[in-house]
Amino acid sequence: MLAIEPLIQLIDLGKEYISQGATIVALNDINLEIFSGDIFGIIGMSGAGKSTLVRCINFLEKPTTGTVVLDGNDLSLLSEKEIRKLRQNIGMIFQQFNLLMQRNVEDNICFPLEIAGVKADERKKRSQELLEIVGLSDKAKSYPSQLSGGQKQRVAIARALSTNPKILLCDEATSALDPTTTSSILSLLKEINKKLGITIVIITHEMSVVERICDKVAIIDNGELAEQGSVENVFSNPKTDAARKLVYHNNNAVMEMKGKRCIRIVFDGKSSFEPVIANMILECRTQVNILFADTKDIKGKAFGQMVLQLPEDSIQADKIINYLKNNKMIVEELIDYVN
C-alpha cells in the first residue's frame, strides 16, 4: 500500500525571539502534518504562537529549530530565491486584509501575477475569473477604501488565489468581520476548498470558525501543540487543559449567567412568543435565562409574561432590550430581581 505524503509537514519546529535581551519561546517542538485537500484549523488564545506558526509555513519567519517540508521540499534547504518562487504557490490572507490601498481591486488581484511574471492581458483575464468566483465582478475598478470589510477580504482571497496555489494560509481572516460577514467568508473558503481542491490552513482564536469549516484541528497553547485530531474528537472530548479552556471558554452552553439585570416582557396576543425569543437569541447571539414564565398559547398567539435574566455584558443586555422593543414587545426592567 502506498502511504499518502502530507502536503505540509512541520518537523520539530521551534521559534525563539530575542527581545530586549530576553528570549521568548514563541514555538516549541511542533510536529504537525496537513494533508492535501484538508481544511486544517489551528486554534489558540492570543499570543499562543499561531501567527508565528503560520508565518513559518511559508518561511516568512525562519524557524530557530526544526523545519517545514512542503510537498516534499525541505524549506530550510532552499535558497532565498527558491523560497520566493515557492511562495508564489502559497496564498495568504490576513486579518487586516493588507490590500494595496493605491491600487484598484483588479490591480490588487493582478499583483501576485505581476510578481510571477505573467503577461498583462493574461493577468486581466485571470482577475476577471477570480472576481467572478468571489462575487465582486462589478467592483473591478473600485479602490479598497470604497469597499466593506467583507468585500476587502473577498478581494484578498481572489488575490491569494490568482496564482493557482495549492495552499491557502488564513491568519485570523475573519476576526475583523461581523458574524454575518464571517459566515459568508467561511462559506466562500469552503467552496474554494471543494471546487478548487486547495488545502486551507485556518488560524483563529474562535471555536465557531473551526466548528464551521474545519475537518481537523490543532490546539496551540503557549507555543506548544496541545492537542490535534478531527474537530469532533477534539471538541467533544478535550483531553488537555488548554483544549478544555478553549472549548469551554468559547462555548455558550456552559456560560454562567452572572448578570444582575432582569426584564419582564409582556405578551399581549400580538405575537407568538416562541419566534420572538428564539429570534432574539439568534439575532443577538447571546443567552438569556428564563427565570419565570406564565404564558398561554391561544390559537398561535401568545398571552402572558416572562422574566428574563440578561447577560452580564451591558452591551449585550442593551441589545436584547432594544431588539425586543423594536419588535413591539412591552419590556420593563426589574430592579433587584436577582442578587
Binding site: 523560497i83 511562495r87 495568504m92 490576513f94 493588507n98 490601498m101 493605491q102 499583483f111 501576485p112
Partner: protein
C-alpha cells in the same frame, strides 16, 4: 517707483530663483531617494536589516541637518568651486543647496516610506516579491501621497534656502532683496522680491497639495 533696469533685474532674479530651485530639487532627489530608501530598509525591522550601515547613514543625515545653511555655504566653497568652477551665482549655489537639501529630503522620504503599513509589505513577501519589487511596487506607490506632500515641503524649503544664499552672492531674488533692499535701503525693491517669493511658494504649495489629494486613492469619492 521701480526703474526699467530694476524691473529687468527682478525678472532675471525670478528666473534665477526658479532655475536654482528646480535643479537643486532634481539633483537633491537623485541622491536623497536612494538614501531615504536605504535608511528604511536597513533598519532593524526593515526589509534588509544592516544595523551598522543604518547607524552610519543616520549619523551622516543628522550631521548634515544640524549645520546651519549659511555656514554650510561657506564650508563647502572648495567643493562648489570644484564642481561649478566658481563660488558665486545661481549655478554655483546649486551645489550647497543640494548638499543641504539631501539629508533633509532623505528624512522626509524615510518618514513617508515608514508610513506604509507593515501588513501590506508582509502580504507582498508572502506572494514571493523580491526586495526591489517591494520597493518599487509597494513602498513607493503606497507612500505616493506622502511623498508628494514631502516634495512640496522640500521645494519650499529649497526656495527659502536659495534666497538665503543671496546673502553671499548666490544670485536670484534673495540676492536682489539684500543688495537693493538691505544695503541700499530700496525698501520697495525688497517688498517686491518678498512678495514674489511668497507667491512662488504659495503656487507651489497649492499645486503640490492638489496633486497629492487628486492622486490619493485612499480617499473615498
Amino acid at each position: 517707483m521701480l526703474t526699467e533696469t530694476m524691473i529687468n533685474e527682478i525678472i532675471n532674479g525670478t528666473i534665477a530663483t526658479l532655475y536654482m530651485t528646480i535643479f537643486s530639487t532634481l539633483f537633491s532627489y537623485l541622491f536623497a531617494f536612494p538614501l531615504g530608501i536605504a535608511l528604511v530598509i536597513t533598519r532593524k525591522d526593515g526589509l534588509y536589516p544592516l544595523l551598522g550601515v543604518n547607524k552610519v547613514l543616520d549619523a551622516i543625515v543628522n550631521l548634515g541637518r544640524s549645520i546651519p545653511f549659511i555656514i554650510l555655504i561657506v564650508v563647502v566653497i572648495p567643493i562648489t568651486k570644484l564642481i561649478a568652477g566658481k563660488s558665486y551665482g545661481p549655478t554655483a549655489t546649486i551645489v550647497p543647496l543640494v548638499i543641504a537639501a539631501v539629508p533633509f529630503i532623505a528624512r522626509l522620504i524615510e518618514s513617508s516610506l515608514l508610513e506604509v503599513d507593515n501588513g501590506v509589505i508582509e502580504a507582498a513577501q508572502s506572494m514571493g516579491a523580491s526586495i526591489p519589487t517591494i520597493i518599487l511596487k509597494v513602498l513607493i506607490p503606497e507612500a505616493k501621497t506622502s511623498l508628494i506632500v514631502g516634495a512640496t515641503i522640500a521645494t519650499g524649503t529649497i526656495i527659502s534656502y536659495s534666497a538665503m544664499a543671496g546673502a553671499v552672492g548666490g544670485g536670484g531674488l534673495g540676492d536682489i532683496a539684500i543688495r537693493y533692499g538691505y544695503i541700499r535701503y530700496q525698501t520697495e525693491v525688497m517688498m517686491v522680491t518678498v512678495i514674489l517669493l511668497v507667491i512662488i511658494v504659495q503656487i507651489l504649495q497649492i499645486i503640490g497639495m492638489k496633486i497629492a489629494t487628486k492622486t490619493d486613492k485612499r480617499i473615498r469619492n
